[in-house]
């Protein structure tokens, strides 16, 4: 069972994964029902589930979920559409990299959340501001990671393509790009996860809708059940989107997943 790097069967993998959730809920139930933590600070699992049902039946929570998903995807797609091509150019052409890399490495460390007050000043509290937070948070990360992936392309394949008659455009479009695509897709999956963090932060401040806004509202009412349910939903959506992304990658790039 504890042989290093020994693969585990799919059935056991699923069972172990579910087991942790069971352990998690049992511990949560134990500390709340057992009175170790007062309900003011942490609602018990049943209370959280009840709050969840209320949220959907009385507070139109699905609209909040929809708007949050829309913001995440919108900001993420806009960032990716510009960041991926720039990253590819930086990875392929060292002079492009030399031009952009220092600034982007600097910009990457600017925390997206610190821009929120400025962005409210510039763009108000509307959708543009929410999208901007996600774009700032995702764009620079994607650029740098894609540049590293493309820059690490196999030189022997580039040389082989040259002996087969490939010129500059052919090398970039038909050697570097297809070789890097699966890893770029993995990077996007990772950054999409981070985008979820940014959207919630953006919604905690100056928002009238969204999961983050609901969590902020619940805090005013000290409703820890609703807060926990909101956080739980974010995790669940993350899990689902991650799964879909993974499945799509395996479908689109079967060659990459051949053992």
């Amino acid at each position: 069972m504890f042989d290093p790097l020994k693969p585990v069967s799919p059935g056991r993998r699923t069972a172990l994964g579910i087991l942790f959730f069971v352990v998690f809920f049992v511990l949560w139930g134990a500390v709340t029902f057992g009175g170790i933590v007062p309900p003011l600070f942490l609602a018990d699992p049943l209370k959280a589930a009840k709050s969840g049902i209320e949220l959907f039946t009385q507070y139109n929570f699905h609209a909040d979920i929809a708007i949050t998903i829309w913001r995440v995807l919108g900001g993420f797609v806009i960032a990716a559409v510009f960041a991926v091509p720039l990253g590819i150019l930086m990875g392929a052409f060292k002079s492009v990299e030399a031009f952009f890399e220092p600034f982007i490495s600097f910009a990457r460390y600017l925390p997206a959340s610190a821009f929120i007050p400025l962005l409210i000043l510039w763009a108000g509290v509307g959708e543009a501001q929410k999208l901007s937070v996600i774009i700032i948070g995702s764009f620079f990360q994607i650029v740098l990671m894609v540049a590293v992936i493309v820059g690490g392309s196999r030189l022997d394949l580039v040389e082989a393509s040259k002996t087969l008659g490939a010129k500059r455009a052919g090398i970039v479009l038909r050697v570097l790009l297809p070789g890097a695509t699966p890893q770029i897709a993995e990077t996007l999956r990772l950054v999409l996860g981070w985008a979820w963090t940014y959207v919630i932060v953006a919604e905690l401040i100056g928002a009238q809708s969204g999961i983050g806004h609901m969590i902020m509202d619940s805090q005013r009412l000290l409703d820890t059940g609703q807060m926990i349910f909101g956080i739980f939903i974010i995790g669940l959506i993350g899990l689902i989107s991650d799964y879909l992304f993974k499945q799509a990658n395996q479908r689109l790039y079967p060659w990459y997943f051949i053992k």
Binding site: D156, L157, E159, A160, S161, K162, T163, L164, G165, A166, K167, G170, R174, V175, P178, G179, T181, Y253, P254, W255, Y256, I258
Partner: protein, 262 residues
Amino acid sequence: MSKLRIENVSRVFPGVRGGEPTRALEPTTLSVEDNDFITILGPSGCGKSTLLRIVAGLDQPTTGSVQLDGAVVREPGPDRGMVFQSYTLFPWLTVRQNICFGLREKGIADRQQAEIADHFINQVNLRGFENHFPKQLSGGMQQRTALARALANDPKIMLLDEPFGALDNQTRALMQELLLGIWEQHKKTVLFVTHDIDEAIFMANRVLVMTARPGKVKCDIAIDLPHPRHYTVKTTPEFAAYKARLTEEIRVESIRAAQAEH
């Protein structure tokens, strides 16, 4: 006029971090005639791969020049097909798509690409594996695909850099027969780098022996064995005589190379 002229070509690699520059290849002059199958035999590190890379245009000579059909080689091009020792198939393309890569870069119509690919898939016995990805193939099959991929471009000369070096002995022997059969049929001009003496004699009409680093051509031996060559030629007295001579030539260089490392 010679097919390929290598004139006074040398290569010195600059020293790393203030170290001494490395003389990989001493000035080398060589004429390759049309339909020649030349094997270049030498101990490891003798610059034979460097010479081939310069002919391919993947490396630039420090002195001298390479001319193919009278035109100076400056960069890699599809007129010089290359097969590398490492597996360099594009992993995202199937066998068929790999073979069509060069044709696609040339802008050849899809239907014609398919015809050419079919022809070479048959030639290297890969029928039934056209839609496999490289990772699903054995090493021998990958190198056969690489060979087909280079041949599909109809290059003026084939450059092979120890293409069978990573294969087991039995597979290697079969690959040699396959390549020789293709050469006997198409009469391509071939430059083939190897450190395997049997391989060098079996396929070549000329064997060049290179000295240990810094490499230069030590001797140029014509192999006068009849065609078509059958694998049984390897056990004939004539073959053994060539082998005895080349073994002596290469042994001296291997000892020099080993001593140079100490």
